[in-house]
């Protein structure tokens, strides 16, 4: 059972991965910042532990009652001391908070997003949909030096997309889109993991990010498409739009009173209950799966739910299709 045990120093399945390391690779713009904060924290911790060791050492090896020297000084300056070790940590903590928060906002609430790639997690694999139509699983190919925005969704339970070399991670919560933006700054292959426990084969729900030069990436997008349909994600969405019967109601000639969809993506929509909502991908997703949730003003709740009818990949394609339409598109406009 433990037959592999003696070989532990040699064990090596991937030629690129070294057998032993003590610091993770740094392959994104974020990684350097996080490492810097981490090292700062380590230095601070080391100083505090050192101070504690000095105090303990003094107490343990000077084990006569100390009512002179240090002891007298300590006893005399009680309020000063207690204030010191409340206020100094407090200020240090405030600084740490500010630095950590700045980086967090940069990463989680970025001012600009990049190339969108849909990532769908399901027990226990990652399915990746490139906008150009290429699909892959447990592998993610991206170009170096360009901001990438992963649009994460889950078919079942909560997963978490984690690339240690990029120092990024986000939980993939079912029922919504989670966006994760980062910029890789180094080519190579980097491991990614599912970090949120998701069931039996949680630990096998991993894969590799391959960061490529932009030219190589463009080339890769065209390569090896055998078995795939050579359609872009939006084109595939258009096929689903017709195959699932969406066009039956949302098409201009339909007798059913349904909202026009051309140009709807990204627009501001008036709702029946008087509110407004921006038709982002999350709203479009809800409209397909939970049509009764936010009904557009002037329409009835007649649309059936597509929950269980189509999977996350198909929804991603549908949304890509809707986003590809502008308001002039005759394909699905009502008038």
């Amino acid at each position: 059972m433990l037959s592999h045990f003696p070989q532990f120093l040699l064990a090596q399945t991937d030629a690129d991965a070294p057998a032993l390391r003590f610091w993770p690779e740094r392959a994104s713009d974020m990684a350097g910042h996080v490492d810097a904060v981490f090292i700062g924290l380590m230095v601070m911790s080391a100083l505090i532990v050192l101070l504690l060791l000095v105090l303990l050492g003094y107490a343990l090896f000077n084990y006569k009652r100390d009512d002179r020297g240090l002891g007298l000084w300590i006893a005399k300056s009680r309020w000063k001391l207690e204030t010191t070790w409340s206020v100094i940590p407090f200020l240090v903590f405030l600084g740490l908070f500010a630095i950590g928060a700045k980086l967090y906002i940069d990463s989680y609430d970025p001012t600009e997003e990049g190339r969108e790639i849909n990532v769908v997690g399901r027990q226990w694999m990652w399915q990746i949909y490139h906008p150009e139509g290429k699909m892959e699983h447990d592998q993610l190919h991206i170009p170096v030096g360009e901001p990438i925005t992963l649009v994460l969704s889950s078919e079942d339970v909560i997963h978490s997309f984690y690339v240690p070399a990029f120092r990024v991670k986000r939980d993939v919560v079912p029922g919504k889109y989670v966006r994760l933006t980062f910029t890789a700054n180094k080519t190579g292959r980097f491991h990614f993991f599912c970090a949120e426990y998701c069931g039996t084969n949680h630990s096998q729900m991993d894969g590799w990010v391959t960061v490529m030069e932009p030219e190589a990436y463009a080339e890769w997008l065209q390569q090896d498409m055998s078995g795939q349909d050579h359609l872009t994600l939006a084109e595939r969405g258009r096929e689903i739009f017709h195959a699932q019967g969406c066009s039956g109601c949302h098409e201009p000639d339909s007798t059913v009173h349904a909202p026009r969809l051309a140009g709807v993506a990204g627009s501001r929509i008036a709702l029946q209950d008087g509110g407004f909502v921006t038709a982002d991908s999350g709203y479009l997703r809800d409209s397909i799966l939970l049509p009764g949730k936010d009904i557009v003003a002037g329409f009835q709740n007649v649309m059936p739910s597509y929950q269980g009818q189509i999977d996350e990949g198909q929804i991603a394609a549908l949304i890509a299709y809707l986003q590809s339409l502008d308001s002039e598109d005759s394909d699905v406009s009502t008038r």
Binding site: C194, A195, G199, S203
Partner: protein, 547 residues
């Protein structure tokens, strides 16, 4: 304290070896037979009942951990299959947290000592106290049933919708066990609150209370106010599984993050339920063996209370990557830094107490020093996790595993074992073997660091937690960790053996073997059924060490 009331017990200071019969009436020999134990309302006997029960649960949970560590020596995990591994870490987490750490100091040492330290005859509601033990046992039965019937693989966090919809395990039974265990905690908490408020001996004002009482008071407040929220989150998971209605299931209109809010509203304060009593025990040990009043008594006392309050404001730091709002993340991060301040104050005040006093190297003191080191590392790494951007990287990795083991095992278990050694003579009337004690404490300290320090590195490297298999580059550190766990296991075995041996072979303990202050040391060892011959009166501060 005035010791003259106990002069009649002076004989036992110089005891004959190996006395078989207890000559004096005490709580241990005042009633014979199993029934006298199962129907007792004596807080001391209930403490012993709890001691036996939680030791039992500790052994099962530790065994689960041993298998997991052995399994993790190879990247492929050759010892057990993934399903088994997942069930093992669930059992380990659930039993360690709700059936060992949460009850450990409060129900064993707290039950035994709170009335003694207050100069009271018993806790405020003795029958409720016994009931809480039965409720605890019932909870244990449900949990053990879930284990035996096939196990649960959700992890102790029961994240939805995995636990409520997808998992195939016996989630309902285990959630029921935790639900019931919650009531046992609440009963104990209510009992301590009423006891500490209303049952103090004449003259025992709040500012004269031992710090152990302060910390248990703070703990009780957290228990009483946090546990019901856990009960409801478990209840909702159970009902959701039973009826397929989805408060937490997005496919049915619910929200999985609601579960996380409810769960962590309990489970973060629960960390303080676990560590605050440890603080109390450490305060007593350090004062006793430094022969000095705890430096800044009032600051240490009130820092326990402020931890109890602030501990409720930080739960969202478990959700930084969960797609909670960025603004909520900022608020929770800031508040998390604040809660570290009172802990920092405590550590410095304890160290300074030792400088001011005259340190005696004894087993409990070794545990206390170990506690200071391990808790400090655990606390500092907590700051790493409160720092938003760093948390994004290390969240749900072994860094977190190492961090909370430094707090809970390095902190709490060291405090519990230290306290158990400090009060062992009072509880059993016997002295344990001092040298074996020191060896045990040292082994545990070394084994612990070997086990968990490599996990910090593993975590920063990016090894996610709850991984049965892992990439081979993580193997070396995992092997080191497993080797450390072996030493740690040996270390835990030692006190288990020599403490039991001391019951038969140990020297008889005098009333106050450590020449400590505190009302519990003024009565005989072991104490009589009603604790004191007459209600003591207190007229001085706590820890009035004169030498």
């Amino acid at each position: 304290m005035d010791n003259s009331a106990n002069s009649q017990h002076h004989l036992v200071n110089d005891p004959p070896e190996n006395v078989a019969e207890e000559p004096q009436e005490n709580y241990l020999n005042e009633g014979k037979g199993l029934m006298s134990w199962l129907t007792t309302t004596d807080h001391k006997r209930i403490g012993i009942l709890y001691l036996l029960t939680i030791t039992f649960f500790f052994c099962i949970a530790a065994f689960a951990a041993a298998i997991m560590r052995a399994d993790l020596t190879t990247p492929q995990g050759d010892l057990v299959i993934s399903e088994t591994y997942n069930k093992l870490f669930t059992v380990h987490g659930v039993l360690m947290i709700w059936f060992f750490l949460v009850p450990s100091i409060p129900t064993v040492l707290g039950n035994f000592l709170v009335p003694l330290m207050l100069g009271a005859k018993d806790v405020a509601f003795p029958r409720l106290n016994l009931a809480s033990w039965y409720v605890f046992v019932a909870a244990g039965v449900f949990t053990l049933y879930a284990m035996v019937a096939g196990g649960v693989d959700t992890g102790w966090t029961f994240y939805t919708p995995y636990s409520s919809t997808y998992s195939n395990g016996h989630v309902i039974s285990m959630a029921m066990g935790i639900f019931i265990a919650g009531f046992s905690s609440i009963f104990t908490g209510v009992n301590f609150i009423a006891t500490i408020h209303k049952m103090r001996a004449p003259g025992l004002t709040w500012m004269r209370l031992p710090l152990f009482i302060w910390s248990l008071y703070a703990t009780s407040i957290v228990i009483v106010l946090a546990t019901p929220v856990l009960a409801i989150s478990m209840f909702l998971v159970m009902v959701e599984r039973l009826f397929g209605v989805g408060i937490f299931d997005p496919a049915l209109g619910g929200d999985p993050l609601l579960f996380q809010h409810l769960f962590w509203f309990y489970s973060h304060p629960a960390v303080y339920i676990m560590i605050l009593p440890g603080f109390g025990a450490i305060s007593e040990i350090i004062a006793t063996f430094s022969r000095h009043r705890v430096y800044g008594y009032s600051v240490v006392a009130f820092s326990s209370l402020s931890i109890a309050v602030l501990g409720f404001l930080v739960w969202g730091h478990h959700m930084f990557v969960s797609s909670q709002s960025v603004y909520a993340g900022l608020v929770f991060s800031l508040l998390s830094f604040l809660v570290a301040v009172p802990s920092a104050i405590k550590v410095f005040n304890w160290s300074v107490t030792m400088i001011l006093g005259r340190v005696q190297f004894t087993t409990p003191l070794l545990y206390a020093v170990g506690f200071l080191g391990l808790f400090t590392i655990g606390g500092l790494t907590g700051l790493f996790l409160a720092t938003l951007a760093v948390d994004v990287h290390v969240h749900d990795t072994y860094f977190v595993v190492a961090h909370f083991h430094y707090i809970m095992v390095g902190g709490m278990v060291m405090g519990y074992l230290g306290g158990l050694h400090l009060w062992w003579p009072k509880i059993t009337g016997r002295m344990y073997h001092e040298w074996w004690g020191r060896i045990g404490a040292t082994l545990i300290f070394i084994g612990f660091n070997l086990t968990f320090f490599p996990q910090f590195i593993l975590g920063y490297l990016g090894m996610p937690r709850r991984y049965h298999t892992y990439p081979p580059e993580f193997q070396f550190l995992n092997v080191v960790s497993t080797a450390g766990a072996t030493i740690l296991g040996l270390g835990y075995l030692l006190p288990f053996i020599y403490l039991i041996v001391s019951l038969k072979k140990g020297k008889k303990a005098p009333d106050n073997p450590w020449r400590a202050t505190g009302l519990e040391w003024t009565t005989s060892s072991p104490p009589p059924k009603h604790n004191f011959e007459q209600t003591p009166t207190v007229n001085e501060e706590a820890y009035a060490y004169k030498d």
